[in-house]
C-alpha cells in the first residue's frame, strides 16, 4: 500500500495517480479539516464488511454455546434467528465451519468460500423448517420406506423396494 497521502486538490490535479492508488489497494486523502479519507475497491469494502459482520456473529455463537442449551430466538437475534431449526450439535458444526470460512476469506481476500458456507447452511435450514422433511432428513434409513421412482412420464407400476411387490 502506498504511503502517499493525497490532498483534496489532488482529486482534480492528480486524479489518475489517485485512482491508480485506489485500484492497487488504498488511496489516502487528507480532507481540508484534517480528516483522513480512504478510497478502495468496492469489492474489497464488501469483503471487509462481510467478514466483520460474520466475525461478530461467530463471537455471538461462541457465547451462546457456553449456555449449554438451545438458544432462544431472541438470544440468536435478527442475524442468526434462521439458525433456530438446528440443534446444539449442528450449531457447533456451523460455528466451526464459519470460523474456517472466515479464516479463508481473510487469507485469500475473497469471500466466495464464506458466502458458499452461509448459502449451504441457509438451504439446510429451509429444508428443516418443514416437519415432514425434517423427520426424513434426520431419520434412520429403512429400505421399506422406499419404492422405485419411475422416470417422469413412464407408466410402469410402483415397486416396493423391500418386498419387490408392485403397488396396484
Amino acid at each position: 500500500m502506498s504511503d502517499v497521502i493525497f490532498k483534496v486538490s489532488d482529486l482534480a490535479q492528480s486524479r489518475t495517480e489517485l485512482l491508480q492508488a485506489a485500484r492497487e489497494g488504498r488511496a489516502r486523502v487528507r480532507d481540508t479539516d484534517g480528516t483522513g479519507l480512504v478510497m478502495l475497491r468496492e469489492e474489497e469494502l464488501q469483503l471487509i464488511e462481510l467478514v466483520a459482520d460474520w466475525s461478530r456473529a461467530h463471537s455471538c455463537l461462541l457465547r451462546l454455546q457456553q449456555l449449554g442449551r438451545q438458544p432462544s430466538v431472541s438470544e440468536l437475534g435478527d442475524q442468526l434467528a434462521w439458525l433456530r431449526v438446528f440443534d446444539l450439535e449442528d450449531l457447533r458444526e456451523f460455528a466451526n465451519e464459519l470460523d474456517d470460512a472466515l479464516v479463508a476469506a481473510r487469507a485469500d481476500r475473497d469471500g466466495a468460500a464464506l458466502r458458499h458456507c452461509l448459502h449451504a447452511w441457509r438451504v439446510t435450514a429451509r429444508q428443516l423448517q418443514d416437519p415432514l422433511r425434517r423427520s426424513v432428513l434426520h431419520g434412520a434409513h429403512a429400505p421399506e420406506d422406499f419404492e422405485d421412482a419411475q422416470r417422469p412420464g413412464a407408466t410402469s407400476p410402483v415397486r416396493d423396494v423391500a418386498s419387490g411387490r408392485a403397488d396396484e
Partner: protein, 127 residues
C-alpha cells in the same frame, strides 16, 4: 436429395428417452409419493426428466443445468455406511429434491449390491 429439415417429420418429444443408460436405480421415500406425482406438472416434463436422468446417471456430479448444494449438519450426513452426503438439487425455482446415493446398496442382506439413488424429500414453492 436429402435435407436436414423435413417439414413432414414430427419433432421429437421434449425430454424423450435418456441419452445415457441409467446406472443408478432411483428410489423415492414413500412419504413424498404425492409430491413426486406432481413434479412434472409443477416444473414441466422436460425438467422433471432431466432431474431423473441426472440422478440415474451422475448423482455425484454437479449438474450443468441445475444448482446443487450439499446439505450441512445432521441433515447432510450419510444415512449409513456407503451412502453419500445429502445433495440438494434445485429442479427449478419452484421445486427441489434432496437425495443420497449408494454405489453398492443391498435392500436386504442376501440381495445383490447395486447402485441406487434415494430421493429423501421433494419440496415445492419459491425460496
Amino acid at each position: 436429395m436429402s435435407s436436414a429439415y423435413d417439414p413432414l417429420q414430427p419433432a421429437k418429444r421434449p425430454g424423450g428417452r435418456p441419452t445415457v443408460a441409467p446406472r443408478y436405480r432411483v428410489l423415492l421415500h414413500k412419504k413424498f409419493r404425492n409430491h413426486y406425482a406432481q413434479l412434472a406438472e409443477r416444473v414441466g416434463i422436460q425438467q422433471a426428466r432431466q432431474m431423473w436422468d441426472h440422478l440415474a446417471t451422475t448423482p455425484g456430479a454437479t449438474s450443468g443445468i441445475a444448482s446443487t448444494t450439499i446439505l450441512r449438519g445432521r441433515a447432510g450426513r450419510p444415512r449409513g455406511p456407503g451412502w453419500s452426503r445429502t445433495v440438494h438439487y434445485e429442479v427449478s425455482g419452484d421445486a427441489r429434491v434432496d437425495y443420497q446415493y449408494h454405489d453398492a446398496y443391498r435392500s436386504n442382506p442376501s440381495g445383490d449390491a447395486h447402485p441406487v439413488v434415494a430421493i429423501l424429500t421433494i419440496s415445492f414453492g419459491s425460496h
